[in-house]
Amino acid sequence: MGRFTIVEGKAIPMDRANVDTDQIIPKQFLKRIEKTGFGQYLFYDWRYMNDGKENPAFELNQPENKNASILIANENFGCGSSREHAPWALADYGFKAIIAPSFADIFHQNCLKNGILPIRLKSEEVSYLLKEAKNQPYVLSVDLKNEMVKDEKGFSTTFSIHTYWKRMLINGWDEIEITLQFEEKITDYEKATITIR
């Protein structure tokens, strides 16, 4: 996983509430046993029509929205199924950060583990971004170190993220490696609970 520092890139709007992970990556693509190559299936049912052609009305297909790295979304983004295939597909497609007023818990966690930064902003701020991003090109800069989001027109705001996850994203740690430093404590816990039983 690459390390996250500052991302500056095209931000595009997806103004829909409660986008679920069944939409982000439909079930027919969950049969693969790899972690890679899911980008082509991202939002498949919305992105393609029955004949396999791109649906021109869908957000990602509009020519000015191509090659975006930041997605501006709405309430409860990523709800439903726990499938990590959703952030795998988003990351593989090229998204590095997602901005929304709220995220579903498991999805939020899954993003952090795959180098995607989920940013919670206030509803008014997200509304502003959604509106601005309708006129492309719209570029945002996301600075994880200073926890800031800025556009080129003078908008700027801060967000907050748990320091643990922040360090993880910046340093690209192997979380299991960190946990294994607590090996002794885990063993002690296991011994103690066996005797209780």
Partner: protein
């Protein structure tokens, strides 16, 4: 200050706690299935890691399995995923209820059925409906594949402590109203993210009177409200359900375990971050009309009007949902014609669910426009149902009687609802495309699904039952 059952279980599982970090939590039981685990095992292999506690891990295959001709799997990619699970379990020493096992079934049906799921535990699985296991008074939640790998390697997880919510359900349920209607009602009132960041304790008279199957149905759909988990304090109902189960403690150990489990209740002065109460008498049989589980109303009601929406986002969602579902604003729920019925899934495929549905179906015929399916949650449920003759009741009425698995809940196998057609489902999600591209799902209870199969449209089973008892 008193503590809630949620805090009691959580605190007991903390291995390490420090400022600026989530808690490092011990995991007692890790359930594994074929879809969300292959990449986790590859990860272990790449780093030369072992599974720390194979005996606290249990695997099955459920999502991909065919429910007819289950040994002749034509889908090569799905087959590969299943054999990959077999190989991984073999290599890492994990017990597996494979396709030919008498214990096979939907992971959230067999965990409790085999007695793996026990009060006071922390339970995880790479599946959002892990919340089901909370019915036994455990903290059970879904995780992603990276976390699956983490639990396999360390038997722990880093988790920020969630907030606590108490939902008290009191009063009496009307005839024909089931646990499924209770949870659909809560979702219809509170929305799809009221539980975000919370673990919910369900309590009150109605919950106390419920069987384990009913409690599982409620806890199962906690995730549909965005909650991390949902649970019910264990009581006599819980203990007697567990007594004698294959992996539950036996003899002396059981007596000892029950003594410990009895302590798992919220203190009277426990403080919750949020509390709400639900009046059970307000609940009617529910039917979802939209594309998320909160888009639900009473069977006697109608699809909402656009003008009644509170804000533009909601209005857009409603518009989109109506277009997808092929419904008109204001349309009566009872006027929706259905072509498919699916009785199954981890929400409603246990023996009680099948008994309730069979009761409605007995001696009647499935409507000529309807194709109806019963998919038992596990091989054990199937066997039990067959011993009671339920399969004959269903088959005589024109239902298909299938092998166990997730089936048409997410249609990863060949059980699919064709585009544009309506399906009354006892499952938990009515998302766009969930039961097939363009498929239109209506979430209902097993009794409502059974009645819909007979009539080709929705009817109030409560009223039906009143007529029959007169």
């Amino acid at each position: 200050m008193g503590r809630s059952i949620i805090e009691k279980i959580w605190d007991k599982h903390i291995i390490h706690q420090e400022e600026g970090k989530p808690d490092l939590l011990y995991i007692d039981l890790h359930l594994v299935h074929e879809v969300t685990s292959p990449q986790a095992f590859s990860g272990l292999r790449m780093k030369n890691r072992k599974v720390r506690q194979p005996d606290k891990t249990f695997a099955t295959m459920d999502h991909n399995v065919p429910t007819v001709n289950r040994y002749k799997i034509e889908d090569k990619v799905a087959l590969n995923q299943m054999t990959t699970l077999e190989k991984n379990c073999m290599e890492f020493g994990i017990p597996l209820a494979g396709i030919d096992s008498p214990d096979q079934g939907i992971v959230h049906v067999i965990g409790p059925e085999l007695g793996f799921t026990q009060p006071g535990m922390t339970i995880v699985c790479g599946d959002s409906h892990t919340s089901t296991h909370g019915a036994f008074g455990s903290i059970a939640f879904g995780i992603g594949t990276s976390e699956v790998e983490h639990v396999l390697a360390t038997q722990t997880l880093w988790q920020a402590k969630p907030k606590t919510m108490k939902i008290e359900i009191s009063g009496t349920l009307r005839k024909g109203v089931t646990a499924k209607d209770v949870i659909l009602y809560i979702l219809s009132q509170k929305g799809v993210n009221f539980g975000q960041g919370y673990i919910i304790e369900y309590c009150g008279d109605v919950i106390k009177k419920m069987s384990m199957e009913e409690r599982m149905t409620i806890c199962n759909m906690s995730i549909e409200g965005g909650a991390k988990a949902g649970l019910v304090s264990p009581d006599e109902t819980t203990f007697s359900y567990l007594n004698g189960r294959k992996h539950a403690p036996k003899g002396e150990n059981f007596v000892h375990a029950v003594k410990k489990w009895r302590e798992l209740t919220s203190d009277e002065n426990a403080i919750f971050d949020k509390e709400m109460s639900i009046d059970a008498s307000q609940i009617a049989p529910m039917v979802s009309w939209g594309t998320n589980p909160a888009m639900t109303s009473s069977v006697n009601d109608h699809v909402p009007y656009l003008k009644d929406c509170k804000n533009p986002i909601e209005q857009r969602s409603l518009e989109r949902a109506l277009t997808y579902m092929g419904l008109e604003e204001g349309q009566k729920i009872k006027d929706i014609e259905i072509q498919h019925v699916f009785i199954g899934s981890c929400t409603n495929s246990r023996i009680e669910d099948l008994r309730q549905a069979a009761e409605i179906v007995k001696g009647k015929r499935v409507h000529s426009n309807v194709r109806a399916l019963v998919v038992p949650g596990s091989q054990q449920v199937k066997k039990q149902a067959e011993a009671e003759g339920l399969n004959i009741i269903f088959q005589n009425a024109g239902f298909e009687w299938r092998e166990s698995g997730c089936s048409m809940c997410l249609s990863m196998n060949n059980d699919i609802v064709p585009s544009g057609e309506h399906c009354a489902s006892t499952s938990n999600r009515n998302f766009e495309g969930r039961q097939g591209s363009g498929a239109r799902t209506h979430l209902v209870s097993p009794m409502m699904a059974a009645a819909a199969a007979l009539n080709g449209r929705f009817i109030d089973v409560g009223k039906l039952m009143e007529v029959e008892t007169v």
